[in-house]
């Protein structure tokens, strides 16, 4: 094992795959000369040159579409969005083209492409720069959606995403790039669609993913002091979602809390809740609780943002509620 930053895990995953496969390129704003807006492609221009590590203008629609077109003609592009907020300008190319080309062409074309970048809030950046898009993309058949929460998963999952023959949305966080964690020394991948039980426990299941899962860990640490054993499942892939892992856990703990940084209406937690009540209704000892961001655009002011964004105290409250404590 070695300890690296999240951003290094991203760069290693991309670089290792690019060494093996000439058809892969990285394209996006500031990815080359600036080494990535968040330094997630550090050193890659030096190693691969400007034909494969490509700076673009601020033209998300154009370069997303060009990448999709190139994928229809032999490339395996990695497209970096400075954040997924800006992918909205190019989302037509993702939803109408990348996600649909295979089916519409009767399977003639596939679209082996990765769109990656930060999702969610990152401090006081206000309404347009703080949006979580996991459930938006996960709603769209044809796409896969991956949201790692630590360097080891980020590297293994990104390598799997790059090798995947379908379009993958790979979501990071500005607030995770500096996180350090252990990753295996050698070659490894982590399959898409497999959740990870990151903390075993018997009293309650907490499901989460991405950077907000840290709040679940903090809550579990506090609750342990009160004798409550939380099981934490990091789903890692939002689409396809490993419902079995969640249902098996709920069958053991009989209680479920879901923590997701997203607006509450029709999000990932909503779908998990539906699946659990339909497949494990008899095992539930309490209604499922979900914790989300407020049902409003993100505010700027620090006091309002603190109310808007869920934290470990909210998780503790929800756990106590499902335990009738």
């Amino acid at each position: 094992m070695k300890t690296i930053q999240f951003r290094e895990a991203i760069a290693e995953a991309m670089s290792e795959e690019m060494r093996k496969d000439e058809s892969i390129f990285l394209m996006g704003e500031e990815v080359a000369e600036y080494n990535g807006a968040y330094k997630a492609s550090k050193g890659m221009l030096d190693e691969f040159g400007p034909d494969r590590v490509i700076d673009t203008p601020i033209s998300e629609l154009g370069f997303s579409g060009i990448a999709v077109g190139s994928a229809m003609n032999g490339n395996r592009p990695i497209v970096e969005f400075m954040t997924f907020n800006f992918a909205l300008v190019g989302i037509d190319q993702i939803i109408n083209n990348a996600a649909k080309i295979r089916q519409m062409s009767g399977g003639q074309f596939n679209c082996p492409i990765v769109f990656r970048g930060p999702t969610g809030s990152a401090g006081q950046l206000a309404a347009t720069h703080s949006q979580a898009f996991e459930s938006w993309y996960a709603n769209c058949p044809g796409l896969k959606v991956v949201v790692p929460s630590n360097p080891r998963d980020a590297k293994g999952l990104l390598k799997a995403a790059i090798k995947d023959d379908d379009p993958v949305i790979f979501m990071e966080s500005e607030q995770m790039y500096g996180d350090k964690g252990e990753v295996p020394e050698g070659e490894y991948t982590i399959p898409l669609g497999v959740a990870d039980i990151v903390r075993e426990g018997s009293d309650v299941t907490i499901v989460s993913f991405g950077k907000i899962i840290k709040e679940a860990h903090k809550a579990a640490d506090e609750l342990a002091k009160e004798g409550v054993n939380c099981e934490i499942i990091d789903i890692r892939t939002v689409r396809p979602l490993d419902f079995d892992a969640i249902i098996n856990s709920v069958k053991k703990t009989n209680r479920l809390v879901i923590l997701e940084e997203a607006w509450p209406f029709g999000n990932v937690a909503t779908e998990i809740t539906y699946q659990v009540q339909s497949q494990a209704f008899d095992y539930l000892d309490a209604p499922v609780q979900k914790i989300n961001t407020a049902d409003t655009p993100a505010p700027y002011s620090p006091v309002l943002l603190a109310e808007w964004l869920p934290n470990h105290q909210d998780v503790i409250k929800a756990v106590k509620k499902v335990l009738y404590k």
Binding site: E30, Q124, L125, T128, Y300, S301
Partner: protein, 332 residues
């Protein structure tokens, strides 16, 4: 255009100096973490604003820009104390703390934001002009954008529509040389941005954006064209930003010498030189102005510091006009 008199030069000097010092203060309190998020400062680009304001009719003309937007509303007449308070996230801010650095708005003063998505304000600017034309008001909209923003598809769709419908709008590209760390040359086949107007047969041209006199003259022609029904204009103002893109920019993409070269044609210095040369003000009078500027900036800081944060309930007060909108609960 009104003549550029002694009073105009003195106003330009004081305004531009105030904008500069206001931004410097924000940089200082940002480092103290009193202001958070991104912080994009206008230092170096002041002439683009000063010249435009001289050419505008503030009783009816409008302005819209991107996220580098703290001083434009001040120029339009917004109380700078409220702009500073917005950056502090205080309830006395222009958006009551909801928008922060990138989102200053003032309906009262005709300042339409403050937009964080690059290029997003370009169609909006044309839309403001659409409404003025629709209601037969003779206001003109000044729509600013960066050199990076002109690479958005929104510009191209909007240019065609604005010409097709002959909207009373002046599109102004503030070419400060860089979009974050990317120079214009590295992301443009043609680096003469003003030529983007040619494909739409929109009147267009380059302007020295470091000199408020040139800016005022060119803006004035464009505004008069728009006001008299002659449709849009596209001007590329060649300017420069002295500071980094935002506060976390190490600026490896340019040399210190390059920044120093531009400081030689600094808009504030240029105006001050004329004031001195023409003896529009004595050294003492200039000192008085400098002191006034300094005091005004301190007042803004004090006001922002002493203001209250918004009440938590405000989170739900701002989203809809409907007063009893049934928001979903997000936590217990």
């Amino acid at each position: 255009m009104e003549k550029i008199t002694k009073e105009v030069y003195l106003k330009w000097y004081e305004d531009m100096l105030f904008w500069r010092k206001f931004e410097d203060k924000l940089a200082a309190v940002y480092i103290q973490q009193k202001v958070r998020g991104f912080l994009h400062l206008y230092n170096g680009q002041e002439a683009v604003l000063a010249g435009a304001l001289h050419a505008m009719d503030l009783s009816k003309d409008k302005m819209i820009t991107a996220y580098r937007n703290h001083v434009q509303p001040i120029g339009m007449g917004v109380d700078p104390k409220r702009v500073m308070a917005e950056l502090y996230g205080k309830v006395t801010g222009t958006s009551q703390g909801m928008g922060g650095s990138m989102h200053i708005f003032s309906k009262e003063k005709g300042f339409y934001g403050g937009h964080g998505i690059v290029g997003g304000q370009i169609p909006l600017g044309a839309g403001l002009a659409f409404a003025d034309k629709y209601f037969k008001r003779d206001g003109v909209t000044i729509c600013y954008m960066g050199d990076g923003a002109v690479r958005q598809g929104s510009l191209h769709e909007t240019f065609n529509l604005a010409m097709l419908w002959q909207l009373p709008v002046v599109f102004v590209c503030e070419n400060n040389g860089y979009a974050m760390g990317t120079s214009v040359a590295r992301t443009s086949y043609s680096t003469e941005i003003w030529k983007l107007g040619l494909g739409y047969e929109m009147p267009c041209g380059p302007v020295d954006g470091m000199d408020p006199v040139t800016v005022a003259k060119e803006m004035s022609k464009a505004i008069e064209r728009a006001r008299s029904g002659g449709g849009p204009t596209f001007l590329e103002m060649k300017t420069y930003r002295y500071r980094g893109h935002s506060m976390s920019d190490a600026q490896h993409y340019r040399t210190k010498d390059e920044v120093e070269e531009y400081k030689k044609i600094d808009p504030i210095t240029q105006v001050l030189d004329i004031i001195k040369e023409k003896e529009y003000a004595s050294d003492d009078e200039i000192k008085t102005i400098n002191k006034r500027v300094k005091d005004k900036v301190s007042e803004c800081e004090k006001f922002a510091e002493e203001s209250e944060y918004p009440p938590i309930s405000q989170l739900y007060d701002m989203v809809y006009e409907q007063e009893d909108y049934p928001f979903l609960q997000h936590k217990l």
